[in-house]
Amino acid sequence: MDGFSGLLHGFGVALTWYHVMLMVIGVLLGILVGVLPGLGAPNGVSLLLPLTFTMDPVSAIILLTSMYWGALFGGSTTSILFNIPGEPSSVATTFDGYPMAQNGRATEALSFAFLSAGFGAIVGVLLITALSGWVTQFALKFSSPEFFGVYFLAFASFVGLSGAPPLKAAVSIALGFSLAAVGMDSVSGSLRLTFGYDVLLAGISFLVAVIGLFGIGELILTIEDGLKLDGIRAKITPRDVLRTAAQMPKHWATLLRSSIVGCWMGITPGGPTAASFMSYGLAKRFSAYRANFGKGEPDGVIAPETADHSAGTSAMLPMMALGLPGSATAAVMLGGLMIWGLNPGPMLFVERPDFVWGLIASMYLGNVVAVVLVLATVPLFASILRIPFAIIGPLIVVVCFIGAYTIAGRPFDLWLALAFGILGYVFKKLDYPIAPLILAMVIGDKAEDAFRQSMIMSKGSLSIFWSNPLVTSLMLLGLVLLFWPLLGALRQRLRAARS
C-alpha cells in the first residue's frame, strides 16, 4: 500500500466517534500528567498501559499516543508559567519561556509554544507518511559506532550552547555520567557503583532525578524567596492566539531548522530531550538577537518546542519499523505493542496496515485535538495560581513524591528525590547548570554502551568512528560543534590581529 492510499485508509480507521473520544481522553490525561512535575509522559503511558490490554491494538495505540501529545503540551505549560518543566524534554523551554512570562508576555509565550509544537508535530507526521519505506532501509545502517556518533553530537552541541562556565558544565556532565553508571553494566555484566546496597541494583532513574532537581529544588528556592509561587497568570483569548499566529511566519527559519533537528533526532534515537536542547543551541547561534536568549526571546521558545514535538512524533516510525524506540515514551509503547501481540518490524507495515496507517492518521488528528484542547484548558491550569502557596506548595510536594514512588514502587526513590532536591537547590545557588546533568543521565549509559560495543567490534581501534561516510560525518559535525566556541574566539582574535 503506498503512502497516500494508506493514509486515506488510515483516516477511515481513525475517524470514528470512539477513536476521537479516545483522543480527547488521552490528550486531557496527557496534559494532566504533563503539567504535574515528575509525572511525565513515560510514566503516564506506563500507568495507562495495563488498561489497554483488553483493547483493540489500534484503539490502544491511539489512546497512548494521544496521551503522549497531551503530555508534551502540558509539559511546556508548566515550563513557561512555573519554570518547572513537566517533562525532561521541555527543560529547554524554560530558558526563554519563563522570562517571557515574567515580562508579562505569558500568553504570547504559551501561544508560540503550542503553535510551534503543533507545527513540529505535523512536520514529524508528514515525514513519517513520506518516508516510511525509505527510512526502514536507512535506519538499518545504524550500528554502535553510528549510535555513539549521534550521542556524541548531542553532547557536543550541548557543550557548545551551554552559557555556563565550561568547567561547571563539565562537572555537571561528569556527575550525570557517574549517576547513569550506577547498577548493572550490560557490556560486562557486572555491578558498578552500588557499594553493596541492593537498592542501587536497578540504577538511579533519571525521572527521580528530574523530580528532585526541578520539582523539589524549585520549591526550596521558592520557599526561600518568601513563600509565594512564582507562577505567572495567563489568560488565553482567541484574539491573542490569532495575533501570535500572525507572527509565526516571521520565525520560519527557526521553525524549519528545529523541525529538521527534531525529525533527525526522533528517527535516530537521540530523543526529544536531546533534540530540544540541540535546537535551542542552534537557534541561539544563528539568531541575530543572540544576547536576548535567556531573557525572553520568542525564538528560544519556538526552537525547543518545535524540535521536541517533531522528535516525539517521528520517533514512532523507527519504533514501528524497527522496534527501535527513539524516546523513553516510545520505549514504553514498544512494550505495549508486543503485549498486544504485534511484532514490530518492517513486516508490520505489510501485515497490519490498519494499525500502522490508523496510528499515522490519528497522529494528524490527535495533534490538532491537542492544540485545541490545550489552548482551551490552559486558563484552567493557570488558575492553580489563585490558590495560596501555603496550600499549593505542599500539594506539589505530595505529587512529586507520588510521582517518584510510582516510577518503580521503591520507597528508596523518595529519599533519592529528596537528595536530588537538595542537590538542585545547591546547583542553582552556586550557578551550576542542571541540564547537562540530566542529559548525561538520560543518554550517558547508552553512549557508553555504544562506545564499548564499537570497541569490541573493532578490537580496540578508534578508527571505527571514521569507517564509513555516515559515522564520519556524524563525528565531524560533533567535533565542529564541540569546538565552535573556540573557533569563534580564534576568528575574533584573527580579526583583531588584522585590524
Binding site: 555484566g189 557486572s190 501485515e351
Partner: protein, 330 residues
C-alpha cells in the same frame, strides 16, 4: 441411577472442596513479581498467566503484577530475601534465578528461592543475515573457524544465556567469535538485519518478524528435536523445516531456557502446592497452548522432583561454562 451418579458427583466435588480448604488458601492480594521490564519475554509470560487465572477465576484474590527488572532481573529475585517466607510474593523469571548469583555479587543467593514450577522452554536458534552465503550451520561454523575472531556474534546482555551458548558453541566446534553484547533481542535482531554482526542466537519470537520480512534466516535450532510444524512463516518455510544443530553436524544437542516460577524460601509447603496446582491448571488451558504456539516455545510443565533435576542439570552445564570463561565472582 442418574440421581445416584449426580449425588456421587456432588459428594466428590464437596470432598475436593474440603480437601482444598484444608490446604493453604490466599486471604489477601497476591503480587506477581516480574524479573524483567514491561514488554520483555518474562513480562509477557507473567501477564499471560495472570490473564488466564483471571479468565478462569482460578484464584479469588486480586493479583498485582509489578516489574522489577533492574540488574538483569536481580531486583526481582531480591524480593525473595526481603520478603522471606511471604507466600504472597510469586516471582517469575528464567534460569537467571540460579545463574545470576554466579556472575555478579548480588544481595540474594539461590537458596533464598523455593522452586514452584517451570512452564515452558524457550528455544534458541542460530541466525544469519538472509543474503549470507552459508547454506547450513556447518558451512557457517567452518567459515568462522577459517578466520578466528573476525566473525561477530551478537547477543543480549553479558554473561547471560546468549553469551553462554556462544561459549558452548565455540568449545564444541572450535569456532571463535567476537561476542558483542546489546541491550536486548530486538536490538540484536536489527544489528543482524543491518549486517553489522554476522550471527546471533535469538529466540524464535524475537526474530520471527525479520525472518518473515526476508532480512534474516535461521540455520539450526539448539533443541534435541525439530520444532513443531505450524503455519509457514515465509513463503516456503515453517519452523519445522529448520534442522536441529545436531543434524547439521554441530555437536551441541540442547540449549533451552526454562520459564520459571518461584516463591521466597521459608514459604509454607501448602502454599507451594497451591501455586503448583494453579499453574498446572493454567498450562492445560487452550489460551496457554495458543501462547506457546504463537511464541514458538516448547510447553513442558515441570514441578517438584522433575524441576529439581532440570535445575541441577542446567546449573551444572552453565557453571562449567562460567568456570571455563572465568566469569564466577567470589
Amino acid at each position: 441411577m442418574a440421581r445416584k451418579f449426580g449425588m456421587a458427583l456432588g459428594f466428590l466435588a464437596a470432598g475436593m472442596a474440603g480437601a482444598a480448604a484444608q490446604g493453604w488458601q490466599p486471604t489477601k492480594p497476591i503480587e506477581f513479581v516480574v524479573t524483567s521490564s514491561p514488554g520483555g519475554g518474562t513480562d509477557n509470560f507473567t501477564r499471560m498467566i495472570q490473564s488466564i487465572i483471571l479468565k478462569y477465576k482460578l484464584i479469588d484474590q486480586p493479583i498485582v503484577v509489578s516489574n522489577k527488572g533492574g540488574g538483569s532481573g536481580a531486583e526481582g529475585y531480591l524480593v525473595s530475601k526481603t520478603s522471606a517466607g511471604d507466600p504472597y510474593k510469586v516471582i517469575f523469571g528464567t534460569n537467571n534465578a540460579y545463574l545470576l548469583p554466579y556472575v555478579a555479587k548480588l544481595g540474594y543467593k539461590f537458596s533464598d528461592l523455593t522452586p514452584v514450577a517451570a512452564l515452558a522452554l524457550d528455544e534458541f536458534l542460530l541466525w544469519v543475515k538472509a543474503d549470507a552465503p552459508y547454506k547450513t550451520a556447518k558451512d557457517y561454523v567452518e567459515a568462522v573457524k577459517a578466520k578466528p575472531e573476525t566473525y561477530k556474534m551478537g547477543g543480549s546482555q553479558s554473561k547471560d544465556t546468549d553469551q553462554t551458548l556462544t561459549s558452548i558453541l565455540s568449545t564444541a566446534t572450535g569456532a571463535k567469535f567476537i561476542y558483542v553484547p546489546f541491550q536486548g533481542g530486538g536490538a540484536v535482531g536489527t544489528q543482524l538485519a543491518g549486517g553489522h554482526i554476522n550471527s546471533h542466537t535469538n529466540n524464535p519470537n524475537e526474530s520471527i518478524g525479520q525472518w518473515k520480512a526476508g532480512q534474516v534466516r535461521p540455520l539450526c535450532v539448539f533443541s534435541p528435536t525439530r520444532l513443531p510444524a505450524g503455519p509457514k512463516v515465509t513463503e516456503t518455510q515453517g519452523w519445522a523445516d529448520i534442522p536441529t544443530c545436531k543434524e547439521s553436524g554441530i555437536p551441541v544437542e540442547r540449549f533451552q531456557m526454562p520459564r520459571t516460577v518461584w516463591l521466597p524460601a521459608g514459604t509454607p509447603a501448602g502454599a507451594v502446592q497451591f501455586y503448583e496446582g494453579i499453574l498446572k491448571k493454567v498450562s492445560e488451558t487452550p489460551e496457554w497452548q495458543e501462547y506457546i504456539t504463537r511464541t514458538v516455545q516448547t510447553g513442558q510443565f515441570l514441578s517438584g522432583d522433575s524441576l529439581k533435576a532440570f535445575v541441577a542439570n542446567d546449573d551444572k552445564l552453565s557453571r562449567e561454562v562460567f568456570e571455563r570463561e572465568g566469569w564466577i565472582v567470589k
